[in-house]
Each structure stands twice: as structure tokens, then as C-alpha cells.
């Protein structure tokens, strides 16, 4: 079966970000003064556990970013035709989850549907009953089977992770960030083992059950939650592609040049930040929706249509959220421009552009980093809120926001369907919490005002 890779707009941006990230990492590794604060982060066990969780989310998101279209059997006048459905590597990996759709709601780990339906029994009578799920349970079932599978899966995951860590220890004595053994590593290893156990458990159960139940149209909620991760990550990171250049250049320019440049930039961001951002976003998204609807021929597939809306949403979120960072950078630059090394450069006749790029920007980088990591969680939450309001991502795109939006009616149902909301809530909580804890550690490591007794004294 052949396929063609599909690169959606958001994919391209993610790859761009990834490349930029790798460049930054290699740059940091070459510069001792940049590595120092990261060592501090590496010594923080909470940060490392958060990073582990974040990188798992990132892995899912990245796998979900590699898109392709499968070739269809039928040929159209000799030409190969590809399926209109855009799939990702992640879809392929969890194919059973994607394809095993039930008729409608079913509770987590259930073997029967959540609502009664009319079926004809062997004798031809129509009875109403909770019919069996198509893809749940097997020869053995019941809570014993669930427990058994969970236990085996958990142990398998635990052992696999233990082996991996052991091998890594044996072959790699030197880690990139030399960490004192025992003190920090033990909580990280403990967390890694328990996460591996949890994953093992989930994988083993997912083979036979819908671990988090199914939604209204019978889609596996676990699958939906995992798919939502990519949307959340893209909103959280791609948006920074828009905010960063705006905030950096405008903020630094306003702070350094002062005068009328400062006045204009300040005026722009004061005005922008006094418009209610939801209003601005809603207006922009609705306008774009009309454009997309009037030009269906622009898009080959539904996925690319939904994707453009996602990218556009990032753009708009970026346009409304750069003001805070810009203000921060302006303030810092105002402070820096009075530093004596700037004046020394000025007295050499170094051009303003060079002063900005060699003296000011390297010295505000820590602020940018802290702000970006802290903004990330805010943006993930903003997506959920916007999608709930209905101005977020395309309804066909799976995201935490659309899941929560769907749960609005499910919560009002009797008996209540709680698992979709709980799953979205849980995944988002873990993602945002991990991001926040990591951001805290990064901020502490980069904060020059914190009194440190390790190196300086």
C-alpha cells in the first residue's frame, strides 16, 4: 500500500519550531553561561518529572503531526487516487482505537452500551436491552479480566522501563547534564517507572476495552483525548512564532530608542490590550470562516480546511497576546540601555542595530524563555475556552475544547455521561500542570535575583 506524505500548514510550522528548538539547544550546549541555568533546572526533580510528562505529550503530538494519505485501489483514468482522509503516523499506530467505533455512548471499561436499544432476539421478538459492544471484552470478561489485564500491563511496562533505564545506566555513564546521583534521580526514576506502568496498563486494557469509554457517535474517548494533545500543543507553541518576533522587536526597539518610536509602540499595545481579546478573536475567526466557506476549492481535504483554521487561530491568538511580553521587554531594555557596557559600545560608535543584537537581545533572552514557557499553559487553556464558546478550532478537529463543548449536553443527560469531560479535564490538567511546574523551575533557574549559595559564594 503506497501513500503520499501530506504537509499541512500547521505541520510545516511545527517542523520549523522543531528546527529552531534544535538550533537553540545546540547553541546552548556550546555556551557555558547558557548551560549553567539549565544545569540548575536539571537538578530540580520536580522539573525533570514535569519534563518527562511533557516529552511524552510532545511525542504523541509529533507522531500525530506526520500526515499522509493512503493510495486507493481504484484508479481514475490510470491516475493514482489518494484517499481524501488525511491520516497521521499516530493514527496508524493506534489504528484499533480509531477504527473500533461503537454505536453510541459506553462507559469506561464497559462491555455493554450505556443506553438501551431495540434488538431482535433469536426468537424474533423485539426487546430493549443494553446490547453488547462490538469491540469490547473477549472470551473472558468482567472485573477479574480487567484487573488481570491491568496488572499484567502495568508489570510489563514497569519491567520494560526498568530495563531501559538499566541499559542506559550501564552504557551511558555520562549524561549531558551531570547530575548528582541518588539525590535527584530517584524521584525521576520513580516517576518514570510509574508512568511506564500506567502506560503499560492502558495499552493492555485498550486492546480489549474502551478504557475511557466512547462518545455519542461511538468514538473511543481515549483516542480523542490523545488526538487533542496535538491541537493543544500547536496552539501553545505555534502561537509563539507570532508573538515572539512582534514582542521582541517592538519591545526592544521601544525600550532602546525611546522617543517617538516608544510612543508609537506603546500606543499600539495599549490600544490592542484594551480591546476585549475574545471579541477580537471571535470577529477574526468568523470573518475567516466566511472566507473559507466561500472558497471550498482552496482545499483538497477536510483536514487541510480544519488545519488552516487552526493556524489562523494561532495567528489571531498571537496577535492579541504579544503585548504582555512586549511590555516586559521594553521595561528590561530601558534598564539595560543605561548599563555601562551599552554606553561603552556607543562610545565606540557601534551601530544601534548591532547594539540591539549583540548586547540587548542576549541579555533579555532569559525573560523571553520564562515568558514563553509560562504562556504555553495559558494558551492551551485559551483554546479550550474559545472552542467551547464556538470560535475556536474547526468542529471537525479533535481538541480539548471541542470535547468539552460536546460534554455540555452530555452532562445534562440522565444518566449523566461524565467520562468525555473527565478525560479532557484530566489530560489537560496533567499537560498544563506539567508545563506550569516546568515553567516555575525554569523561572527559578534563570532568576538572577534569587539568592544562590551554590556557585557564586
Amino acid at each position: 500500500m503506497s501513500f503520499i506524505p501530506v504537509i499541512l500548514w500547521s505541520d510545516a510550522l511545527v517542523f520549523l519550531l522543531l528546527a529552531a528548538g534544535m538550533l537553540v539547544v545546540s547553541y546552548v550546549r556550546q555556551h557555558e553561561y547558557l548551560r549553567l541555568p539549565w544545569r540548575r533546572v536539571a537538578k530540580n526533580s520536580v522539573a525533570m518529572v514535569s519534563l518527562l510528562v511533557l516529552s511524552l505529550f510532545l511525542l504523541v503530538g509529533l507522531l500525530d503531526t506526520l500526515h499522509y494519505r493512503v493510495e486507493l485501489k481504484d484508479k481514475n483514468a490510470g491516475k493514482t487516487v489518494y484517499s481524501p482522509e488525511v491520516l497521521s503516523v499516530f493514527d496508524k499506530l493506534v489504528e484499533p482505537l480509531r477504527l473500533h467505533t461503537e454505536k453510541t455512548y459506553s462507559a469506561p471499561l464497559a462491555t455493554n452500551l450505556y443506553s438501551k436499544e431495540s434488538v431482535t432476539d433469536v426468537s424474533g421478538n423485539i426487546v430493549r436491552e443494553y446490547s453488547r459492544l462490538q469491540y469490547a471484552g473477549g472470551q473472558k470478561e468482567g472485573s477479574r479480566d480487567v484487573l488481570r489485564r491491568a496488572l499484567f500491563g502495568g508489570i510489563a511496562g514497569f519491567i520494560a522501563a526498568g530495563l531501559l533505564i538499566g541499559i542506559r545506566r550501564a552504557f551511558l555513564h555520562r549524561s549531558p547534564f551531570p547530575v548528582r546521583a541518588g539525590w535527584v534521580q530517584s524521584p525521576v526514576i520513580f516517576a518514570a517507572l510509574s508512568i511506564a506502568g500506567l502506560i503499560g496498563m492502558t495499552v493492555n486494557l485498550a486492546g480489549a476495552y474502551h478504557v475511557l469509554g466512547t462518545d455519542k457517535v461511538g468514538q473511543d474517548v481515549l483516542y480523542l483525548s490523545l488526538k487533542s494533545i496535538r491541537t493543544g500543543l500547536i496552539i501553545g507553541t505555534v502561537t509563539t512564532l507570532v508573538t515572539l518576533p512582534l514582542a521582541l522587536f517592538l519591545g526592544v526597539a521601544a525600550g532602546y530608542f525611546r522617543g517617538w518610536v516608544d510612543d508609537i509602540i506603546q500606543y499600539i499595545y495599549t490600544v490592542l490590550s484594551s480591546i476585549p481579546s475574545v471579541l477580537l478573536i471571535a470577529a477574526a475567526v468568523l470573518m475567516m470562516q466566511v472566507t473559507i466557506d466561500t472558497h471550498p476549492n482552496w482545499f483538497e481535504t477536510a483536514a487541510s480546511r480544519a488545519d488552516l483554521r487552526l493556524v489562523f487561530l494561532c495567528l489571531i491568538l498571537g496577535m492579541t497576546s504579544w503585548t504582555g511580553l512586549c511590555r516586559l521587554l521594553r521595561g528590561e531594555t530601558l534598564k539595560l540601555r543605561e548599563m555601562e557596557y551599552i554606553q561603552a559600545a556607543q562610545s565606540f560608535g557601534v551601530s544601534s542595530l548591532r547594539i540591539l543584537s549583540r548586547h540587548i537581545i542576549p541579555n533579555v533572552m532569559h525573560i523571553i524563555l520564562i515568558a514563553l514557557v509560562m504562556d504555553f499553559s495559558g494558551l492551551v487553556l485559551a483554546e479550550a475556552v474559545l472552542s467551547y464558546v464556538g470560535v475556536g478550532v474547526d468542529p471537525s478537529m479533535i481538541s480539548f475544547g471541542t470535547m468539552i463543548n460536546g460534554a455540555r449536553l452530555e452532562m445534562a443527560r440522565e444518566p449523566m455521561v461524565w467520562w468525555a469531560l473527565a478525560a479532557a479535564f484530566g489530560f489537560m490538567l496533567v499537560l498544563v500542570l506539567a508545563a506550569n511546574l516546568f515553567a516555575d523551575a525554569v523561572r527559578d533557574a534563570f532568576d538572577p535575583r534569587l539568592n544562590r549559595t551554590e556557585g557564586d559564594l
Binding site: E340, Q343, A344, Q346, F348
Partner: protein
């Protein structure tokens, strides 16, 4: 009977490194004990250990502190709180940071009174006024309701002292109380501390790096080095014959007029890092009298005479040879400098009636409602290979003048002629940029922490198109590092890896990179320790001889002026009030301000002349007094002084003064 007894006090980091290592001393009531030492010697940590206010990660490991019979080291924190403020009080270095900006002075002092004196309401208020009056705050009744921002630095330090005295403490710990203040204000504050001690009979622990301050106020002195007291003596004994080689070198490193044709006896190297020396004498690596024993065996405390003791192998009774202090001093051979190159008579820099005004804007339309006259009609000239010192208190416009010469600040009027061409109104990146460079005050703020030394040095060259390619530049960088006395391999390191003195060398190398003819040095040694200051002054002096550089030396330190400068301009509130050669101005000052400034400088020779007390603070440059700016603080001022700025009076060919009395 001693009031404070410190016995074998050890304070250290959690990882076992001792910051204060086995300190023992005692202070009697009514006595001032000075802890003298360079930065990083553990002076402040000693004070904080006594107050039990140590920062996180630093703790008191052993030893005892006894105050008036109470063992402080054994007290619970709750009991300690009743001791602090009532039994012992502390004043800090930076008065601007030790007062709460949102509380009135009265409220802050009343806090202490309520807590330790049980006063409240009207009584507390009245006591506040008494206290403020006692520390010489004029119009205390009104000032008591003022906020800290309404006071000048010297006033704030007075308020801090009033606050410390509010609890009637038996011991006052003063941590560099005058370091952030100008000499005239410093003299006021020291006088106040002396008077207060006379009235109240309290003991005082003074922590300072300034030999002059010690000479003024201390009764006994402990010299600290790397966490230990290495010498202890009465002030007279210490100044008459210092015993420890370190103390001797400290004295020798002070710049002085008599030594202006010699290099200073700088102490090589810097204070060792904490915990780096576990065996032997801690000063041994920098000591030129050290021998094998010094690095092998830790010297013990030796009592030489009554009250004078030293921690040095030279004075070990088991040792045969006992070197006396005088001999030790003569061992410092002052290398005479090469003959001065005859300077050219043509002026390199001619400044004529330079004015730098900063507009005060108000209202929506930003109308100019007034001017801050930072520099108000300054004229001087400087010829090649000479040093002109610009002296004055902070806020008199010295730095603004220096920066406006470099065109870093736009001047309002006047002319700056450098090497025959007018600099005012030139494009920002004019050609002469390279011939005039600046060395800044704070070596920690003047180097970009994110750039390596080589990049820092190369920046000026590439901006000025000096050196055709990077190979040429790299060899130039190597020779620059040689010139300022840094190792060549240090060019791939970052500024944070260097000590303050080394950073200042880098800053000088950066300025020299573009081969300037004039260096504007803005207090280049005021952030450095005495021993390091001597290294930098020596470097500047030898560079002048070698490269025929001219210096415009901006400073408030008159000792440095005596040592380095050829000519002096004294600035007061944006105007030059007196100018002349160093000898003329410093030995026969004509202007009352110069006289007051000179008398306020603490001398180390203990034979302090009469101190001409200078009342009040520097007036605001936004609203300068009419006539002679100094008139309101001048005790000779008469009515004509208050109406018109005095014309120039030539006392000799080189000596001129703006004063009606001259």
C-alpha cells in the same frame, strides 16, 4: 569589663566552607572596635552572625557570642527578637535600601519604640522628634511626617542611626555606614557617631574597608583576611607599626602625593576564594615575606605587646628572627617610574563654556517648565600625556560632563574641540570616536556578561575598522591583554570568571583597543578594594608613560587625585569653582568648598587637622541657589555671594578660583 565577647565564632555554608573562621574579639562599653578588611573577607557575615540574621544556607556552626552576660548563641529566636533593637542594633551600608519607602520616618522609628520601649501615641511621637533632633535632622517636628524619598542619602543614614538608637542599644553594629556617602557627608555621619557614643556610652562595632574611617573613629582595630582576624591592635599601635605583612601592604597600597612618582606597592592577586586554603597561612600566596613554613603550617595567634596580637609566623616566639614592623615596611621597594615624557604644550581637548541642560517637562503637552543644569558653563583644556582630575561630590555633574564629551549625552551649548576639530553636532559615529574612550566606574556593569573577553575587545575594533581581518585583530587582542597584565588565554573566558580588578583591566583593554589618545576614567577604582585599586592605578600610570595617554579622571577620592593627576578641577553643582595644578589646589586650596572637601577626607596619619564642617547637602541642580552656588553652605558668604556668580580670580598662572573671597 567587656560588653561583647565573641569566642571562636565559626560561620559557614551548608557545604562546610567557613566564611568566618574562628573569630574571637571583645568590645568594652563605650569603645569602638573596627573590623577592617577587603570585600569577601567575611566582615559582614560576622556582623550578621552577631545579630543572628544570617541569610539562608549560611549558618553559625560553633563558637559563642556573649552580650552583657547573655549568651546570644544559645537563645531561642523569640528571645533573640527582644535583644535585637533593644540590646544591639545595626545600621547598614545602603541607607536608601534600609528604610521602607511607604512609611513615614516617624512611623518607622515608632515601631522600635513601641516594641522595645513600651512607648505609644503622643509619647512615641515626641521621642521620635527627640531622636531625629539628636541625629541632627533640621526641623525634626516637620520631618517626622516625611517619607524616605524626601530625604538625601546622608539624611537617610542619619534616620537609620536614629532608628538604631531608638531602642537605646548597648551595642551598635555599623556595617560600612559611610561607604555610600560623599566625603563631606561621611565626615558629618562619623562625627555624629562619635558624639552619640560619647553621650550614650554604647559600644560600637564598625565594619569598614576604609583605613581613613578607622583612623577617625576606632579605638581598637581587628584586621580581617579570608575569614580570620590576622592582626588586632589599638588604633595608635596599628597605625604606628603594623605587624602583619598584609596590614603593612594595605598601608603601602594607599595612593599618596609623596608617592606620585613611584608605583604603588600593590598586593598581587586577590583575596582567595572561600575554603580554597585549608592549610597554612591564608595570606601566604600573596605575601612576599612568606617561606615554606607559611604554606605548610597554619600560624597561631601570637601576642606581641599589650593588646596587639598577630597571626603570622614572622612573630612566632619559637622563631629566632622577629621582624619589626618598620623593617617590614622598608622591605617594600617602591620602583621609581621612568622619567615622564615631556608633554606637548598644545591642548588635545579644549572645552569652552559647555552646558548640558536636561529639560523638566510637565503636563499633557510636555511643556518645558524648567532646566536641570547638570553642567553649567564649564571650560577647561587638557594637553597630551597629562591627567586632569575632575573632583566633586556625587550629583555635581562630573559624570554628565564626561559623557557629554563623548557625545553620549547631547550637550546644550558650548564647544568641545578635540585635536582641533569641533565635536558638538557631529554625526553619532564620527571619525574621532576612537581617539576618545571611557573607563567606567563599575566593572561589574560595564562588561556584557554574555560576551567573551575576545568578543568584548574586538567590538570596538570592528566598529572602528581597526585591523583588516580577524587574525590581525586576534594578535592585537593578545598584545592588549599583555599590556593590561592579563593572561592571553583569558580571552576565551566570560567576564563572570574574573574578579573586580581583573574586570577593570578588561575594561581598560577594551578602551585601549581602538588606540585612543584620551581616556575618560569615571571613578575607575571606587568599586575596588584598596589593594586592587593600587594595581589599577599603577596600570593607568604606566600606560600613560608608555602610550602618552591623556586622562580625564573623574573622582571623589582626593588621595587618588594626589597620586595620579597633574591638574585638578573642583566642580560644584555643574560649575568649576577652582582649578590649578595638584599642588596648588590640594595644598593651598582657595575656595571654601575645596577647603571643606579636603578637610573632610579622613587621613590615615591620625594627625587630623581641623575639620571644617560643611552643613547640609548639595542643593538641587533644578533649582540652584542664586549667585555663588556654594553660598548657602559657605560660612564666609556675604550678601554679594548670594547675588552673582563670582568672576574668575587668577591666583597664579595655573591656579584660578571663582570666589569673591579669594
Amino acid at each position: 569589663m567587656s560588653l561583647l565577647k565573641v569566642n571562636n565564632l565559626v560561620t559557614g555554608l551548608a557545604n562546610g566552607v567557613a566564611i568566618v573562621d574562628g573569630l574571637s574579639f571583645d568590645i568594652a562599653a563605650g569603645e569602638t572596635y573596627a573590623l577592617l578588611g577587603e570585600s569577601g573577607c567575611g566582615k559582614s557575615m560576622t556582623a550578621l552572625s552577631l545579630m543572628r540574621l544570617l541569610p539562608d544556607g549560611v549558618s553559625n556552626r560553633s563558637g559563642s557570642v556573649e552580650l552583657g552576660g547573655i549568651l546570644l548563641t544559645g537563645l531561642a529566636e523569640r528571645e533573640m527578637r527582644s535583644i535585637r533593637g533593644a540590646q544591639m542594633a545595626m545600621i547598614f551600608q545602603e541607607p536608601g535600601l534600609s528604610l521602607n519607602p511607604v512609611m513615614t520616618l516617624g512611623a518607622q522609628i515608632a515601631e522600635v519604640l513601641v516594641l522595645h520601649q513600651g512607648l505609644s501615641g503622643i509619647k512615641a511621637h515626641q521621642r521620635c522628634i527627640e531622636l531625629l533632633d539628636g541625629v541632627g535632622i533640621p526641623d525634626a517636628v516637620r520631618r517626622v511626617n516625611d517619607y524616605p524619598f524626601q530625604l538625601s542619602g546622608g539624611m537617610k543614614q542619619r534616620v537609620m542611626i536614629a532608628m538604631a538608637l531608638a531602642g537605646k542599644p548597648k551595642l551598635l553594629v555599623a556595617d560600612e555606614p559611610t561607604t555610600a556617602l560623599d566625603v563631606t557627608i561621611q565626615a558629618q555621619v562619623l562625627q555624629l557617631l562619635r558624639d552619640t557614643q560619647k553621650h550614650t556610652g554604647m559600644a560600637m562595632l564598625l565594619i569598614t574597608h576604609d583605613l581613613g574611617v578607622v583612623a577617625q573613629i576606632a579605638h581598637r582595630v581587628g584586621v580581617m583576611y579570608a575569614g580570620q582576624i590576622i592582626e588586632q591592635a589599638s588604633r595608635e599601635d596599628l597605625y604606628a607599626h603594623p605587624l602583619h605583612p598584609y596590614t603593612q601592604k594595605l598601608f603601602a597600597a594607599l595612593p599618596h602625593a609623596e608617592r606620585s612618582d613611584q608605583t604603588l606597592a600593590a598586593i598581587a592577586g586577590a583575596v582567595p576564594a572561600l575554603g580554597s586554603i585549608v592549610q597554612g597561612c591564608r595570606f601566604a600566596p600573596r605575601c612576599d615575606q612568606a617561606w615554606e613554613l607559611c604554606s605548610e603550617q597554619t600560624p597561631t595567634w601570637t601576642n606581641i605587646a599589650k593588646g596587639q596580637g598577630v597571626r603570622c609566623h614572622l612573630y612566632d616566639s619559637s622563631r629566632v628572627k622577629v621582624t619589626s614592623g618598620e623593617e617590614g615596611l622598608t622591605n617594600n621597594n617602591f620602583a621609581p617610574l621612568p622619567q615622564s615624557i615631556p608633554h606637548s604644550q598644545t591642548s588635545l581637548l579644549i572645552v569652552n563654556d559647555l552646558r548640558v541642560y536636561f529639560p523638566i517637562r510637565k503636563g499633557i503637552l510636555q511643556r518645558v517648565v524648567g532646566q536641570i543644569k547638570a553642567v553649567d558653563g564649564v571650560s577647561f583644556s587638557l594637553s597630551g600625556g597629562r591627567t586632569l582630575a575632575l573632583v566633586g561630590e556625587s550629583g555635581c555633574g562630573k559624570t554628565t560632563l564626561g559623557k557629554s564629551l563623548l557625545q553620549l549625552i547631547q550637550s546644550t551649548a558650548g564647544s568641545i574641540q578635540f585635536d582641533g576639530s569641533e565635536l558638538r553636532g557631529m554625526h553619532k559615529r564620527f571619525r574621532q570616536r576612537a581617539s576618545m574612550q571611557m573607563v567606567f566606574q563599575d566593572p561589574y556593569a560595564s562588561l556584557n556578561p554574555k560576551m567573551r573577553v575576545a568578543e568584548i575587545l574586538e567590538e570596538g575594533m570592528s566598529a572602528g575598522n581597526i585591523g583588516s581581518n580577524s587574525i590581525v585583530r586576534q594578535t592585537q587582542i593578545d598584545s592588549l591583554l599583555d599590556k593590561v597584565g592579563l593572561a592571553r588565554n583569558s580571552k576565551w573566558r566570560y567576564p563572570h570568571e574574573f574578579s573586580g580588578g581583573q574586570r577593570q583591566r578588561i575594561a581598560i583593554a577594551r578602551a585601549l583597543a581602538v588606540s585612543p589618545r584620551l581616556l575618560i576614567c569615571d571613578e575607575p577604582t571606587s568599586a575596588l578594594d584598596v589593594s586592587v585599586q593600587a594595581q589599577i592605578l599603577n596600570l593607568l600610570k604606566s600606560l600613560q608613560h608608555e602610550l602618552n595617554l591623556s586622562y580625564l579622571f573623574i573622582t571623589h577620592n582626593l588621595a587618588v587625585v594626589e597620586y595620579l593627576a597633574h591638574e585638578v578641577c573642583v566642580m560644584y553643582l555643574g560649575r568649576i569653582v577652582e582649578r590649578g595644578t595638584v599642588k596648588e589646589v590640594l595644598q593651598h586650596p582657595a575656595h571654601p568648598y575645596t577647603q571643606a572637601l579636603l578637610s573632610a577626607v579622613p587621613r590615615i596619619d591620625l594627625t587630623q587637622g581641623e575639620y571644617l564642617k560643611l552643613e547640609g547637602d548639595l542643593p538641587s541642580a533644578a533649582d540652584p541657589p542664586a549667585g555663588c552656588h556654594f553660598a548657602p553652605r559657605c560660612r564666609h558668604a556675604n550678601s554679594i555671594c548670594r547675588t552673582a556668580f563670582p568672576p574668575i580670580v587668577q591666583r597664579s598662572l595655573t591656579h584660578a578660583v571663582h570666589c569673591y573671597l579669594a
